[in-house]
């Protein structure tokens, strides 16, 4: 076990304690550490919701909500240190896998080996990426801490999911210390969750971690919607003439544009033009419910979803100039669905090194063959 305290001894007053007890300082340290992890997105705001007792010692509880910029993180720590805080809930966001620093990306992907029933083929992937289609990813995590909920005891405790520092976990329950709950949505990434927990576990051996279980009874792996780092492989083309290249590929290779059909767009059918996949129901987006970014894309598209290659190129260039869109937003809005060798794949664009690149996202099984076909018809691959 490991514990520490900070402060100098002062004569005459016997030993002294900080009003912020070590458990809270430890929690602050854990939260600071989570925030320092390279997978946390520093461009996103942090939401905090907390309950505190009122100005007297009665049971009056006041609930407050605040939003802070990432760089204002210190203000949140000050709130947490306050002894009157009974519980709090924080929402933070992780970085899209395509935006990870290379070293972190390598570490994250290597965690796939710890995944129950991991796909062995994953390790031979060349440039894996998640699906750019709208129903796939969820990068939000939330942190719940309650300082007054001591209902859980060792006696009724049953370990679930992925466990770290089990002895510390039981010790903390036995001593009625606090627990920190890290939550994530069904579309979260297993490797991210494992990364965060294993990092915390290694750095804070005095903190017990129970990974919990998902709705399918496993640790994220079983969930229908969990985000897969290996959905597609990226094939990036060097061309700067997007429209002409698209026309050339569609003429020479076995590739068809697809559009979504049905009430919710779960089904697909072939069509003759490119269709912006993630703007499937843009004409039904209600201005009062959508965010600033969605309003902008709605205005730019004007409800139009089907594009000729030339129109698509114009659209891509137009949205590349919107400062509010980061590179992930850009790719998200540019994405079209295409069928390649009977498989649903994506045609999209990325912004890197100050320019726009045309990119295919294809399933692993057809990547090698499709690359060869592209090269054989004179397409240059990055």
């Amino acid at each position: 076990m490991f514990t520490y305290w900070k402060g100098y001894e002062i004569d005459g007053s016997s030993t002294t304690y900080n009003i912020v007890i070590p458990q809270r300082e430890l929690m602050v340290e854990v939260l600071q550490y989570i925030m320092s992890l390279k997978i946390i997105d520093r461009n996103e705001n942090i939401n905090i919701s907390y309950a505190e007792t009122g100005d007297n010692l009665s049971k009056n509880v006041v609930r407050k909500d605040n939003i802070y910029k990432f760089e204002e993180w210190g203000k949140i720590l000050e709130i947490i240190r306050n002894p009157s805080i009974l519980d709090f809930h924080i929402n933070i966001y992780c970085v899209h896998p395509d935006k990870l620093f290379p070293q972190i990306r390598k570490e994250i992907y290597s965690l796939s080996r710890t995944r129950p029933g991991a796909e062995n083929k994953a390790y031979s992937y060349k440039k894996p990426t998640i699906s750019p289609f709208y129903y796939a990813p969820n990068f939000e995590i939330w942190i719940d801490v309650s300082f007054h909920d001591h209902k859980k005891t060792v006696e009724d405790y049953k370990p679930e999911g992925l466990m770290f520092n089990e002895k510390a976990l039981v010790d903390n329950l036995r001593n009625k210390h606090l627990t920190i709950k890290l939550g994530c949505g069904p579309g979260f990434i297993y490797e991210y969750a494992a990364f965060i927990m294993s990092k915390i576990a290694e750095r804070f051996p005095e903190v017990g971690i129970d990974g919990g279980i998902d709705c399918a009874g496993g640790f994220i792996d079983g969930c229908t919607y969990s985000c897969n780092l290996y959905d597609f492989e990226r094939i990036t083309l060097t061309t700067e003439n997007l429209a002409q290249t698209i026309i050339q590929i569609f003429e020479k290779l076995e590739i068809k544009p697809m559009r979504r059909v049905g009430k919710y767009g779960w089904e697909h059918e072939e069509c003759s033009t490119l269709v912006l996949y993630n703007l499937f129901d843009v004409d039904r987006w209600q201005n009062e419910y959508i965010g600033e970014k969605a309003k902008i894309i709605k205005n730019i598209s004007g409800g139009k979803q089907e594009y000729t290659p030339e129109e698509y190129e114009q659209f891509v260039k137009k949205i590349s100039e919107v400062e509010l869109f980061n590179s992930i937003d850009f790719t998200y809005y540019c994405t079209c669905c295409v069928k390649i060798k009977d498989e649903l794949c994506a045609l999209t664009c990325i912004k890197e090194e100050g320019r726009i690149w045309l990119e295919f996202r294809v399933i692993s099984e057809i990547r090698e063959e499709f690359e060869k076909e592209l090269i054989s018809c004179g397409i240059s691959i990055r």
């Binding site: 076990m1 490991f2 514990t3 520490y4 305290w5 900070k6 402060g7 100098y8 001894e9 002062i10 004569d11 005459g12 007053s13 016997s14 030993t15 002294t16 304690y17 900080n18 009003i19 912020v20 007890i21 070590p22 458990q23 007792t53 100005d55 007297n56 010692l57 000050e78 306050n82 002894p83 009157s84 300082f147 007054h148 001591h150 002895k167 001593n175 009625k176 210390h177 606090l178 990092k199 290694e202 750095r203 804070f204 051996p205 005095e206």
Partner: protein, 406 residues
């Protein structure tokens, strides 16, 4: 850095940042592996970040630390205590030019600890692995050559703090103390105005002058504020003042019986206590510290989250005291005096300390019936003064909750 073996636990203290750590079990094994192989995991990075180990230890330092880790399997400690004191409070003088009505000591006596005696004690402390020496008095700033006393402590790797009324602090003296490596200076102040302060303390102007000098320096400092009926509603003003000085902390002390005052007139009643707790909760932007005699404040604030590790009196368990005559005591406020001259023998064999360590079994009155007995145990010195029994219950406690009710 000081490394010290406790039973199955390695203690580490960094005098520069005041962090004390205890490492045991798998984490100790992890540290041992790092020392042997140099392989650094996240936990080791955290220890380095906290300043508890160095990333570039010499071979000699590494070997010494490994030996100390091995010693954790052999060393023994008294009941509920460290094997040796974590800190020692030393009153280096009984002389004080002020006449504070709340002072718990009898009239100023012309007694000062010689430097030779002090040096001998510090050598003992160093050899045992004591982490901190807290200097007090009397008024320590009137001791001639005080910087030499401080230097003696810091040169042995221990932290040195001074508690003072502020009387006699000058820019020159502070510069000497700073050069000697003083880690922290605490100034006593009981009110935001001279009128409020003078209800219990003398020397308001001297305290303010000292605080102003400290505020201009880089020496960390704070104030000791004794909570009393005649100043408790001034607490927020004191907080605002101390924050304006950019002090490190406010240390809230429980009022102890004075030879010149009626204890019951000045001790906080329940309403005043609750007011103080409520006000503490609102304080932001400065560290609040609590005298261990006020452990019931922590119980009130945190309930079951407090335990014997982060709460309760540490007299005889974590620290001891030495008076200007060189006599050993569990704390400044208890009358129990020993003529033993060997710190280790006193710590291991003293029946007074043994008695304090068995408080959980021996304490009577409300404390015995209280849910917080194991974490708090009240103030034994106050019980000794009021009931003439160190195991009496610290009755009339505003936080008392009968066992089984929480």
């Amino acid at each position: 850095m000081i490394y010290r073996a406790e039973p199955y636990t390695l203690m580490i203290f960094n005098a520069d940042n005041g962090i004390t750590a205890a490492i045991s079990g798998n984490e100790l094994y992890s540290l041992k592996e790092y020392l042997k192989t140099g392989i650094q995991n996240e936990f080791i990075s955290r220890l380095i970040n906290l300043g508890l180990i160095s990333s570039d230890m010499s071979e000699y330092e590494t070997e010494k630390l490994l030996d100390e880790i091995d010693r954790t399997e052999k060393v023994k400690a008294p009941l509920r205590s460290f094997a040796v004191p974590e800190s020692i409070h030393i009153d280096i003088t009984a002389v004080c030019p002020l006449k504070c009505t709340q002072c718990y000591k009898s009239n100023s006596q012309n007694v000062e600890m010689s430097f030779e005696k002090f040096s001998c004690l510090i050598e003992q402390a160093k050899n045992l692995g004591v982490f901190q020496i807290a200097l007090g008095g009397g008024e320590p700033l009137v001791v001639k050559g005080l910087a030499k006393f401080v230097k003696k402590v810091t040169s042995c790797g221990m932290a040195c703090t001074i508690t003072s009324s502020g009387y006699g602090l000058t820019v020159e003296l502070l510069e000497q103390l700073k050069k000697s490596g003083v880690n922290h200076i605490q100034i006593s102040l009981n009110g935001s105005t001279k009128e409020i302060n003078s209800r219990s303390r003398d020397g308001f102007d001297e305290a303010i002058s000292a605080l102003n000098i400290l505020a201009e320096s880089s020496v960390p400092f704070g104030i000791n504020w004794v909570a009393r009926m005649d100043n408790v509603y001034d607490f927020e003003n004191v907080v605002a003042y101390v924050k304006s000085l950019k002090a490190d902390n406010i240390n809230i002390l429980r009022y102890k019986q004075s030879v010149r005052e009626d204890y019951w007139k000045n001790v906080l009643n329940k309403d005043a206590f609750n007011y103080l707790v409520t006000t503490i909760k609102k304080v932001k932007g400065i560290k609040i510290k609590i005298d261990s005699a006020f452990s019931n404040i922590l119980c009130q604030l945190y309930g079951n989250q407090v335990n014997s590790v982060n709460c309760g009196c540490g007299a005889g368990r974590r620290f001891m005291m030495i008076d200007p005559w060189g006599r050993f005591k569990p704390c400044s406020h208890l009358s129990l005096v020993s003529e033993e001259q060997d710190i280790q023998k006193y710590w291991i064999n003293s029946p007074d300390l043994e008695n304090l360590r068995q408080g959980e079994e021996f304490i009577q009155g409300d404390c015995k019936k209280c849910s917080y007995l194991m974490a708090c145990r009240g103030c034994r010195a106050i019980c000794e003064q009021i009931y003439n029994d160190i195991n009496a219950g610290d009755n009339n406690c505003p936080v008392f909750i009968e066992k089984g009710r929480i």
